[in-house]
């Protein structure tokens, strides 16, 4: 359900009292909500609503072509806190730590980071069906395992990667330092894909 129709008395009472406040030119203290009946009630109710946050875990998915992994698919989880009343059937925001696992033809990577995602579930309870806007900065451990990768197979890298998704199109850019193997010390990777 996207919304509950609000009680009419909230609207009428708050509107009347707000009008009264404006007409009286009353000052509103920064330390406390407006001390006018009705307006105070609704503002208090909204404050309680906004503070009543629920921890949620949302699934993320994507696929991309990138230098290091060639073609890969990724799955991730983000932990976020949202008002308990938000069902996020349509556009909703998630912000918090995330983890992603991404196996590919050329290699694979495990990422830990923090990000923000604006998307919708469209009836899928566990995964975001559409990502409209998202970004994340992640620490990544990357390992190559085939010639499809742009680096020699058997190399392991640690690095930082940035991700940006806009209307499902994903852009990524990372810089990595090798921690095992004989390849160059640093590599820069870039990717283009779908999802987040």
């Amino acid at each position: 359900m996207l919304s509950r129709r609000p009680a009419g008395h909230h609207v009428l009472a708050a509107t009347v009292t707000l009008l009264t406040m404006i007409a009286a030119g009353g000052e509103v203290s920064a330390e406390e909500p407006p001390s006018v009946p009705g307006t105070t009630d609704l503002l208090d109710e909204i404050t309680r609503h906004d503070d009543d946050l629920e921890r949620r875990i949302v699934g993320l998915w994507g696929a991309r072509a990138s230098r290091a992994l060639a073609l890969s698919a990724r799955v991730g989880l983000m932990v976020a806190r949202q008002p308990a009343s938000f069902d996020c059937t349509t556009t909703c925001e998630y912000r918090g730590p995330l983890v992603q696992l991404e196996p590919g033809i050329g290699g694979g990577q495990l990422s830990f980071g923090h990000g923000k995602v604006i998307g919708e579930h469209r009836g899928n309870r566990h995964f975001l069906a559409h990502v409209f806007l998202a970004y994340a900065v992640k620490g990544v451990i990357l390992h190559s395992w085939s010639d499809a990768s742009s680096v020699e197979p058997g190399e392991t890298y640690l690095g930082v990667e940035g991700d940006l998704t806009a209307v499902m199109v994903n852009f990524s850019l990372g810089i990595f330092r090798h921690v095992s193997g004989d390849d160059d010390d640093w590599i820069v990777t870039a990717g283009l894909g779908w999802g987040f």
């Binding site: 996207l2 609000p6 009428l12 707000l18 000052e27 609704l42 404050t47 199109v169």
Partner: protein, 340 residues
Amino acid sequence: MGGMGARSVRAAAARAALSMALALAWGPDARALETDQYFAWTKPLEDATAAVNAKVNKELLQALRDANEAESRRGESCYDVSRRAMKRFRFFIFQDIQLWVDNAPFVDRVPGTPEEELAYRRDSLYPFRGLRDVGMSIPPSPTIEIDGIRIGTDKLSHFFSNGWRYYRRYLRHARRGQSTEEAEAGAIGPGVWYEKNILGYALSGVFSIGDMEANYKGLLFFRSLCDGEAPRLVNEGGAWRLARPFDIREFVTPEWDESYRPSVYSPGRWRRVRRIMRRYCPLLDHPDVVARRADYARRDRVTETDRLVDKLVKEGRIADPSGYAIDTVCAAASSGDPGR
């Protein structure tokens, strides 16, 4: 993609990528959201004024508490405090205030149920059409009612996000010694260019006068925080106070309803939109529609946006919006004229 060749797909993807890059490069006020008030025409809506006002005032008060609490922030100027307030509403494309209004149970919306949402995406003026129509890849925003005026929730994003951008440009012009009118014109001008030439036609094919009006009113809101003889924010003994609470009714006008003040469309977009608009012709005689449009006409005033649009039309820079009005569309349809 329904029959698109590989070349068409690549061309569409390139166009989409370029448009998105331009939109993202512009910054937080990039517009990628449309709305359709026709869809809500005969659907009842409870007024959301009190909820929106309470939410905005709650955020303003929290910004003032933050400004007053830390010793290091005590010397903040009114501009600094208003910037602190702005951050509570603004993000990138999707503004926090709009996301709240789109989800909170305090606000009545159309669409208001998952079933209605599916119908909205299918039947609105701006249905999703895949990569060929990247400007419509984000669902159109729902409709709420403020003081008897139906608006898309995207207008709140325009109000706070673009309004802040306009305000910063206004201040730059004002510091150069320009008059209020000159500074406002300097603030609004680049936004019009951007709406028309980048997002308006390149990305979505829609140049929304309602959006322009919301942008301008956002400028007036941010000016009201610190400017004039009765600013909303006052400093007493080193602590900031909200002297006048926010009331969205000061800013919303009938122009915010895109079914009353029509947008201007690119030719390709108009071909699709006109076909869908014609479905609403039978509703022009519906008592609710008649009453609302009569109320709008009674409350309608010539705004700065109206003057700007008239100027653009006279200069031949945009088409006359009256050609895209529902009355014009329906009159042409009933006379059998395919051109409009």
